[in-house]
């Protein structure tokens, strides 16, 4: 039987190691595949904003900007909505309602992104152009964020579609985390005389903070890398504008758009370098997420509950 244990250990170790191996291989390939632009543009690749395949000028800034802004908009919308819904489902709703809704939420999380893209093109874009953007312009138009011509497509629209896509992740994971908070925590709070809401907001949610953060970063990762749905509603123009109404472009979207028809080594390798940049962004944000979770969970709450 000892040998059996050894073999199982070895096999599972290999499986675990393969994750690291794939990650390293990925970075290596991206690094190797982007030699030309790294040498030619150096750090300017991150600073310049001209993307011109004809005159061989490649700068990643508009794509980095578009990726971060759309993901940011998505989180600003999705985090409060998602966590609010999760609190309702875990703490306030009857179990039957909660389980039924959970079924629908899981269903939403499994919808392919191209379907969200179509939803965006046929429903969100016209709504944005006809109602939401003019309304924002009339009320908050003094902010640079909501100025300029209204196209329907653009950074804000892409952010909203992304928000719709990532909300199920936040709800689903946060709900599980909230449900796993021990009963004694709630009972202790209630017995000290706090109301239902006080116990939820001041005891249960802080206890589950680590897991909720985890759900947010899962959502962020999906928003950063989303390709199809973003391409369909972002407007695909590599410009940097303060206005959220402006069209933009994201890293994943431009790679998907241009890779197949890219001729010339520098062009192709610049697209690969964009992939490397996206990897780097995800890496940095994930690192920050870890730090944040560690920093916030030191104040006596349970971490690693997810």
């Amino acid at each position: 039987m000892r040998e059996g244990d050894e073999i199982a250990r070895l096999i599972t170790f290999l499986f675990a190691a393969s994750v690291v191996l794939v990650t390293l291989l990925l970075v290596f390939e991206l690094w190797q595949g982007s030699i030309l632009p790294r040498h030619k543009f150096g750090f300017n690749f991150f600073r310049t904003s001209v993307w011109d395949p004809i005159f061989d000028q490649f700068g990643a800034l508009p794509f980095i900007y578009g990726t971060l802004v759309t993901a940011g908009v998505a989180l600003v919308i999705a985090v409060p909505l998602g966590i609010g819904a999760a609190i309702f489902l875990a703490e306030l709703a009857p179990a039957r309602v909660s389980d039924t809704l959970e079924f629908f939420i899981d269903l939403l999380a499994a919808v392919p992104s191209v379907i969200y893209g179509l939803l965006g093109v046929f429903i969100v874009v016209p709504l944005m152009r006809e109602y939401i953007q003019p309304a924002l312009k009339n009320t908050l138009g003094f902010l640079p964020l909501f100025q300029g011509p209204v196209y329907g497509v653009g950074l804000l629209t892409a952010g909203i579609v992304l928000a719709i896509m990532v909300i199920p992740y936040i709800i689903s994971v946060s709900r599980e985390v909230l449900l796993s908070v021990p009963r004694d925590q709630r009972e202790a709070a209630l017995s000290l005389g706090s109301t239902r809401w006080e116990s939820t907001w001041q005891v249960v949610v802080p206890f589950a903070r680590g897991g909720i953060m985890g759900s947010i970063f899962l959502a962020l990762a999906r928003a950063l890398g989303e390709t199809m749905a973003v391409t369909m509603v972002i407007g695909n123009a590599p410009v940097i504008s303060a206005s959220l109404f402006s069209p933009g472009d994201s890293i994943a979207s431009v790679i998907a758009n241009q890779f197949t028809e890219a001729t010339g080594d520098l062009y192709l390798q610049s697209l690969i370098e964009l992939g490397l940049v996206l990897f780097l962004i995800t890496f940095i944000l994930n690192g920050l997420a870890r730090l944040l979770i560690v920093a916030t969970s030191q104040k006596g709450s349970a971490m690693g509950n997810a």
Partner: protein, 342 residues
């Protein structure tokens, strides 16, 4: 269970051997624009010649050029001819040239959505270049209005829509704009993807059409085939002879015939803005890229056989699928060029 598995395995192995022995498999990859007719051709050719099976992946012109240069496919296909650097790279690697064979023709047409305007608009080359450069920003600009007397054009801002992904249609469109506008040539240039001065990108013909339909005062370009099959209204463009021509298959073939007189030996020719009457000016060939030297003689003969068939019987399928046929002058020259495949 084991027995069944064994029998299955042997059957699969046999099937594999039989299948491999039966048909000579030729692999090609490249342009997406001619994919519908290519897949029709390869299927029909296989029906007529059971021993040859041609497998084509529509991965895009850029990828087609790359794969044929790398030698991972037997032939490539592209919507824009290979440039001199690419030809040199191929020759350096393989010690023989790569040959271009035009197969059919396509065209790009301007399509728009202006509230209140239902008539077909006329576009001068200057107007199109000005709009896509962002210099002409209102629909009632004299450059547009003068060619459309009697049409009530609004004073609204023009919204330009282009393709977001690299595409052969973009190549044709920008090739044309480069010919009619030196500003376009110097600032933007031609290619499957360019640095657009203005506008929004839509993915594919359907993405561009969708954006135009949804966005008042928008203008963009789509493939002629796509516009015809989906009954999308499109405008006429003034050709080099000064006529406003609304694209159709005859106008596209006329462009090819007009250009065939000055066509170089290697068929790498742009036929946008071709001279002559009845010519639709935003037209282009699409090409097969065939290696000049094959190490495998059966493969070489199979490909030569296919090209010969494509230039004769194959052309008859073109118009039912809305592609313009090659004019006779070009077919004759290509038949002569087949002997260059060695």
């Amino acid at each position: 269970m084991k027995r069944i598995a064994g029998i299955l395995l042997i059957t699969i192995a046999f099937a594999g051997v039989l299948w491999a022995d039966n048909a000579l498999l030729i692999n090609g990859a490249g342009a997406t624009f001619p994919y519908p007719i290519y897949s029709k051709w390869f299927a029909e050719y296989h029906k007529a010649n059971g021993a040859i099976e041609i497998n084509y992946l529509s991965v895009g012109s850029g990828a087609g050029i790359k794969q044929v240069t790398d030698g991972t496919v037997d032939f490539g296909a592209t919507d824009g001819p290979m440039n001199d650097d690419q030809l040199k790279a191929y020759r350096d690697k393989h010690g023989a040239p790569i040959l271009h064979f035009p197969t059919v023709l396509g065209a790009a047409v301007p399509t728009y959505n202006i509230p209140g305007v239902t008539t077909s608009l006329n576009f001068t080359p200057d107007a199109l270049a000005g709009i896509f450069l962002g210099r002409i920003s209102k629909w009632n600009d004299p450059a547009i209005a003068n060619a459309n007397k009697g049409v009530n054009l609004p004073a609204n801002d023009i919204i330009v829509i282009h393709r977001s992904e690299g595409s052969g249609t973009t190549y044709i469109w920008t090739d044309y704009l480069s010919k009619v506008s030196t500003d376009w040539k110097d600032k933007v240039g031609k290619g499957t993807a360019v640095n657009w001065p203005v506008g929004l990108g839509g993915k594919g013909n359907e993405g561009v059409t969708g954006l135009i339909k949804q966005t008042p005062n928008a203008i963009g370009y789509v493939e002629l085939i796509y516009a015809v099959q989906n009954k999308i209204p499109y405008g006429a463009v003034r050709n080099a002879a000064g006529e406003f021509v609304r694209a159709d298959l005859a106008g596209v073939s006329a462009a090819a015939a007009a250009a065939s007189k000055t066509m170089p030996e290697d068929f790498r020719v742009s036929i946008t803005n071709a001279p002559g009457k009845g010519v639709y000016p935003i037209s282009s060939f699409t090409w097969l890229l065939i290696p000049g030297k094959f190490s495998d003689a059966t493969k070489r003969d199979a490909i030569k056989g296919f090209v010969t068939w494509m230039l004769a019987d194959g052309q008859n399928y073109a118009e039912t699928l809305s592609y313009a046929k090659l004019p006779k002058e070009v077919v004759d020259r290509e038949l002569k060029a087949i002997s260059k495949i060695q």
